[in-house]
């Protein structure tokens, strides 16, 4: 099954991105595919490579970059939400790209399921 994932909350403050990551990783392990993850609202804050969490904590952004590289996941950050919050191309971690909301709508149209993580 093809899963699209929508993340609506920023990292560390909220568990949404962690839960989405675990969902995506496990879905892929079970033979499903996750072609794209879309970051909206404060979820766009997951995309910046400027974050430096303590050594003994997970790095939410790096985890997404690694999973995306391993499994060809398209990590899309909403342009309007990103601009509002100061997220620019030059700040993006590997695997992330900035694009429009149409990419989110496409996930709903094309994939079997669209799963939202957030409040």
């Amino acid at each position: 099954m093809q899963f699209g994932i929508l993340i609506n909350e920023g990292p560390y403050n909220h568990q949404a991105s962690d839960s989405a990551y675990l969902f995506a990783r496990n879905a892929i392990e079970k033979g499903h595919t996750v072609p794209r993850v879309f970051f909206y609202h404060d979820g766009v804050n997951n995309s910046t490579r400027m974050g430096e969490p303590p050594q003994d904590d997970r790095n939410v952004t790096t985890r997404w970059s690694k999973l995306a590289e391993e499994h060809g996941i398209d990590l899309v950050v909403c342009v309007a939400a990103a601009l509002r919050r100061g997220i620019k191309d030059e700040l993006l971690a590997p695997g992330f790209r900035i694009s429009g909301l149409g990419q989110l709508v496409e996930m709903g149209i094309q994939y079997d399921r669209l799963v939202t993580f957030g409040d």
Binding site: H41, A80, V105, E106, I109
Partner: protein, 131 residues
């Protein structure tokens, strides 16, 4: 609006999208940014339904005035939705009742549904996005 009408993912597929608006219009950004997704989805010629439930019913309240909190008042957008061919607006009776509201308190025409009717409407959808 003409630019948005050109949106097309090339598949020609039309799915039933339901947007579940659950939060008050102000205090968080969900309602404002959620509306953007609704408009884009309509521009992709999808079958869009909007539901206002829980504190989301406050998004449609008459007499919203944001001057005092110095944020944008986007409530006009709800009245312009029919211009985007978004005509399926639903509110659940229990959310109105719990807040002492009636249809007369709302700025747009909506269909008021019972919990069972809402459940059936949700069952019919292909995609449910909740803000």
């Amino acid at each position: 609006m003409s630019d948005m009408d050109m949106e097309d993912d090339g598949s020609g597929i039309v799915k039933k999208f339901m947007f579940l608006n659950r939060k008050a219009p102000h205090g968080t950004v969900y309602a404002l940014e959620g509306l953007e997704v609704v408009l884009i989805t309509a521009a992709f010629d999808q079958d869009v339904s909007l539901v206002f439930t829980d504190d989301g019913v406050y998004q449609l309240m008459k007499g919203i005035d944001t001057k005092g909190i110095e944020v944008k008042d986007f409530s006009k957008t709800y009245r312009a939705l029919d211009g985007y061919d978004i005509e399926k607006l639903y509110v659940d009776q229990s959310s109105l009742d719990a807040r002492g509201l009636t249809e007369d308190d709302l700025i747009v025409d909506v269909t008021v549904l019972s919990d069972d009717e809402m459940k059936n409407l949700m069952d019919e959808q292909d995609v449910v996005i909740s803000f």
